[in-house]
Symmetry: C2
């Protein structure tokens, strides 16, 4: 599909988000806005230790609180067998707690105040155990063991993080218990590669846990009916996964759960399944609706943030700038449940640049922290913070312009990824060329700013899905999807349907059904909604259009090929008096005695060709020499989006992702004490960027079409968060001559680098 934007009626226009009015007027209803007759509120009792045996739980004081109905513990929800080894199934800890903030009991009250008062009075006696917090310590054979590896290889819900990778097999059963996954990618002769090199950079980069910090915390409301069926209203990015997971945990058929995916107040990958099983369990136990909403502190301590990592990189290049070898050992901190994006991290660290010799080894390691989760481009910001600083430093060592160095080495279509599979057509080179010519970079020596550059990519996610389209007898259209709309995707889907069918956009209603009524779609993540649901919508619209054309052809006694749809009317080309409205066609297909089947357009997609998306960012910074405070003076973000279906929304996504990248780069990290207690357990402590801290961000959008994407579009959500921290660190290096190898680049770290030589 190489048509130009101006050939389109709807696609390519900056259309307002269809749900925007409801959001800005406060009319949108989220889970916590719901109330049902007889509803109980649940409040969690959480662990004050990161690792401890539970000796006893005394609920007697809690049960004296007026309005407290019941207190349940792990012994109620997990009465037998070993404790579940995955976050979804592990509703409440039973025998021991394995992270600070883990839920050990739930108090049900007639309202939230009663439940909270009760929760504060539940007495839990613990026997503290040694906690392991540092993943490098956790890897050691003598480290405290989170869980014996009896279950290795059968983890129930290792998150897929929006991408799937496969490397060489490593027998992890031979590794210490806390190592739950390992990946290895090799190519060529790594030692020979370094022997060829004229310069080598070798460093260790550290990244810390980062929370998605969506405005709305996790919450679920489960309502039972008299037959043991559940309706669960919840905030999730993937309603089918949340339903299936809940059914699995509760041991009931999927058909007994209707999961209603409510409007999501931010997800960024962190909202899959969380409280649904526990709320469902309580609702069935009490035969009453039960709502549980996490507090912000619970969200920070028991959510599923992005994991920290420790990444060793060694990279060498010849004097002419040709990279000869890349070696890395990546350790991802999995928290207390397995499943990290270490594979994606390896794919990115070893994939951006050509090299004949490659050696990547990744481990994921259990620690006494909450289970880690997906956060926008899982694994990629961590890997990119490392590789893009190393590349930058290497270029500097060789005296080569860092953009020219990257252009010389960057992967293009056909170059091997770490798996050996060739890159498809990607926009990395064009992004670097754009940066090279951008005034902020090109003239950096003239305007005297300290400027850093980095690039980053995302492999792109795919998942089968379907969509359906009906027409109404007033000539309007209804598009039904299964995908949760977080970023405005439903607006884009309505645009695609309008464009393909030939329907004015204002006549298209688009909705996400619940799990009982929606066509299937997967988790809204991995930059895959537009890329995979879009083609399903295209096909549904084509299917509906063909059905309409067939009825019109019969009614007008014409060939479908001779018909066109103009302004809601189907007419014979060149004979404008021979026409029939979409409304009349709909009526004829939905009326007593009608001879035409109802117009019901179905589209399915199972895209398997991925469309990796790349971002390049230019950061100009100033550094306060005394305090180490970094200030962003100017910021440019360049992204290849395949095709802009809605430029306003594309820009919003790119700026939003870049803002988060700046948060990762400068401020955000979760601090755990040595005993595993979370220090940053409120938003007073955890430093999310405020809007006035984010500078104006200039966006430059490239359009290199993806063959399988709708009108050439690629997924755009993940890339802009990836290179930001590295670009800022490179800018800080340009400003100070010092490398800060730990993220985020807080004033303290930069000051240390300036004054003590190490960041």
């Amino acid at each position: 599909m190489s048509a130009k934007v101006d050939e389109f009626t709807v696609v390519g226009k900056a259309v307002k988000r269809i749900e925007g009015d409801r959001k800005v007027t406060g009319a949108m209803r989220y889970v916590d806005d719901l109330s049902l007759p007889g509803m109980l509120s649940g409040r969690l009792v959480t662990s004050i230790y990161a690792h401890a045996e539970i000796v006893s739980i005394d609920a007697s004081a809690a049960l004296q609180v007026p309005g407290v109905i019941a207190v349940y513990t792990g012994k109620d929800v997990h009465p037998s067998g070993p404790e579940p080894d995955n976050r979804t199934g592990h509703m409440l800890a039973r025998d021991k707690v394995i992270y600070y903030g883990q839920a050990v009991a739930v108090v049900l009250g007639v309202n939230e105040a009663a439940a909270a008062e009760g929760a504060a009075l539940v007495e839990v006696e613990y026997r503290q155990l040694p906690a392991v917090v540092d993943p490098l310590e956790a890897m050691k054979p003598d480290a405290p063991v989170i869980r014996k590896k009896a279950n290795a290889g059968v983890w129930a819900d290792g998150a897929d993080h929006g991408a799937v990778v496969a490397g060489d097999d490593i027998d992890i059963s031979r590794l210490p218990d806390n190592i739950t996954n390992a990946v290895r990618f090799t190519r060529g002769d790594i030692e020979a590669g370094f022997a060829e090199a004229d310069a080598i950079v070798e460093r260790t980069y550290t990244t810390h846990w980062v929370h998605q910090s969506y405005i709305e915390t996790h919450g679920s409301l489960a309502a039972p009916d008299a037959l043991g069926n559940l309706t669960i209203y919840t905030t999730t990015q993937g309603q089918f996964g949340a339903r299936n997971g809940t059914a699995g945990v509760l041991g009931i058929p999927q058909n007994k759960i209707k999961l209603v995916g409510m409007e999501v107040g931010g997800g960024f990958g962190g909202k899959g399944i969380m409280l649904e099983p526990l709320a469902g369990w309580c609702a069935l136990r009490h035969n009453a609706p039960v709502k549980i909403i996490m507090t912000r502190s619970e969200e920070l301590s028991m959510g599923n943030p992005a994991p920290g990592s420790v990444i060793d990189i060694k990279i060498g290049a010849k004097a002419d700038g040709t990279i000869t070898a890349i070696q890395s050992r990546m350790v991802f901190d999995s928290g207390c449940y397995p499943g990290t994006p270490v594979g994606i991290a390896a794919m990115m660290a070893g994939g951006y640049y050509k090299t004949p010799n490659l050696s990547l080894l990744g481990y994921e390691v259990l620690t006494n922290k909450p289970g880690n989760g997906a956060y926008r481009a899982p694994g990629a910001p961590q890997a990119t913070f490392a590789i893009e600083q190393a590349v930058d430093e290497l270029a500097g060592k060789l005296g080569i312009d860092p953009v020219a160095f990257r252009l010389h080495n960057c992967s293009v279509e056909g170059d091997p990824q770490p798996t050996g599979a060739p890159w498809p057509r990607i926009g990395l080179k064009e992004i670097l060329e754009t940066i090279k010519e951008h005034p902020l970079w090109k003239n950096r020596h003239e305007h005297g700013k300290a400027v850093g550059v980095a690039i980053g990519g995302w492999p792109g996610g795919v998942e089968p899905c379907a969509a359906n389209i009906r027409v109404n007898t007033d000539g309007s259209m209804l598009l039904t999807l299964g995908s949760t709309d977080i970023t405005g995707t439903n607006t884009v889907m309505a645009m695609i349907a309008a464009e393909v069918f030939g329907m004015p956009l204002e006549k298209v209603k688009v909705q996400t059904g619940d799990t009982d009524t929606a066509p299937y779609a997967g988790f809204s993540g991995g930059s895959k909604v537009t890329y995979t649901v879009g083609p399903a919508v295209q096909r549904a619209a084509e299917d509906a259009r063909q059905q309409v054309m067939a009825i019109a052809a019969s009614e007008l006694e014409a060939s479908p090929d001779d018909l066109e749809i103009v302004d809601g009317v189907c007419r014979v080309k060149g004979a404008p008096d021979r026409e029939i409205s979409i409304a009349a066609i709909a009526q004829k297909s939905m009326t007593f005695g009608g001879k035409y089947e109802p117009v019901y357009g179905i589209g399915k997609s199972a895209v398997t060709d991925r469309a990796p998306g790349f971002s390049g960012q230019i950061a100009a910074v100033s550094v306060d020499e005394d305090t180490g405070q970094v200030k962003i003076e100017q910021y440019v973000t360049v992204q290849d989006v395949g095709r802009q279906l809605n430029p306003a929304m594309v820009e919003g996504q790119v700026i939003g992702g870049t803002a988060q990248a700046i948060g990762w780069g400068l401020w955000e990290s979760m601090h755990y004490a040595d005993d595993g207690q979370l220090i940053t357990s409120t938003l007073m402590d955890y430093n999310v960027p405020k809007s006035e801290q984010i500078p104006p961000i200039e966006t430059v959008i490239l359009e290199i079409p993806a063959p399988a994407g709708p009108f050439g579009a690629k997924g755009i959500g993940e890339p802009p968060i990836i290179p930001g921290a590295a670009a800022i660190a490179n800018a800080v290096a340009a400003a100070t001559g010092k490398r800060v190898t730990a993220m985020p680049l807080t004033a303290e770290r930069v000051s240390n680098a300036l004054h003590n030589g190490q960041g």
Copy 2:
């Protein structure tokens, strides 16, 4: 599909209704069980005159009632233009009332008690006008005119009554204003036909208005959102029609209304659209949820019952029993809005029996009564009461056994209907043969009972529709329909899907979606749900099965033709170790990175071949010579159902319809005073049969397959209500030698016939 029942796994079994548990345990929620935050209750103010100008409406006292929020009148809802000429659009009377009980105002209160108290205090000043109640009087040129015929031919919602007929054109603009429709069917030379006859019967038969008397009265709850969208929870047999009608009346796009068809507490044709527009108007006006539930008296006075009729029949036959001519003039009382089933009545009266000479003329006439509506087999019981008594009497005059007489003349496949179109294969002859051999009839002279027989038929309804099927990753199935389940149709649809797909019935969940999410289906009426939605479900299940087979074939590296589905597992025939479960197939089609499209089976149907259904009934009665009280001693109902998909439900439908037929025959009629006031305005006055009044009913089911029906099934809802009143009247004639030509055969009428010679 001529397979025998025992070839099937599910179809043909007496399966329990899937929603039965919820109904018998009281767990089912109906509209009036719903409550929403901030909800207002509406109560109507209704007219005490059948025909009057509205001089003024004083709401001041009502507005003083604590909790009363507002009072709206016809001037608010119909601010300009002529008053609407159809029941749907005529939310409140404005300038004049045209039937007793018509709504003139609605009072909104914070609860129902406040609204009711307010409604009682609204002062309406009327100027009474002469009312016309008798349709024969209403036809006269000098009769009071309900409404000028300026709009003739453009009636917005003349009910289709579940069947469509077309006869000769009659220019009704030349007829008096109150005549709003006329149909004519002619064949041969009617006068010559009577000249040939050796015996003639000529009588006038009268039927009165009959109310559907569902347990649940009409009710709607409309909830607005901040953007002017409405969700309407309502009791309707056809949610798409109700939504579209409401959108039309309110002048808003169909996409702005989500209509949720709630469980229906009985409909029998009477629940199409009623309070939805008014509740919706109030909800939008107040920006609050508004619920209006009709009282029983309102239901009786302003519902839409079956119309009364006056039917002249003249029928002649030769001495050998061959009918030579049938002539009829049928006048249907339309009430104050046009749209009666007079055409269907003519089709039946002139269609059951062969005759070379036919002359049918039907009129519908406005009177000052509520608009008439559909009631199970609209028009057919009235016509059958007439023709089946006339035929019976004629047989008697000729000294021919009445069943033999009917067998001699009954229409069979290929014989012309009044329209000239040939009857398809029908079971009328087989029903008569069954009756002929039934002991109650065959031995009637031996056991000395007074036995009467009648037959009746229904043309069968059709309407396009669609269905969809998904599979879940636990191997279960979800079937989504647009058709409202009143009689257990969803249970049958689940059975069809299970049978066709090869899925255990307990793994099939079936649901009716709302208008936003459901595939299209029309009004659940006209005996068309099983007949038309069934094939859509068959196709959806076949489609889903094929998709599953294709994935299995790819995974098992086999041809789809070599596969079979057994117990939820797809396997290679003859190689039982090569298998994959439906659950695994579902998982492969709905997973990150999956290469198969999600299983999503779609079925559509646009059946145009009708499958007329016939019933024959044998009534044995005793008559109290003093009081005229008729007692049913024994009752047999014979019906051709095409194929019994669920024998328990078939029997329930047949017995239920027969019970209503007995109600029509013996007790039920709405009485209007000469000034149009409804006398039978409560269930103390309107005589619905109580369960102890209905005798045990023996059912005899015939199965003559319908080619287009699912597994040969025909619609079964309408036929059993049709011949009952005539069978009872014929039995009374057998018992007393007197013909009672007015329905119902109350003790008063039978006594009159016995003692005064005229019933």
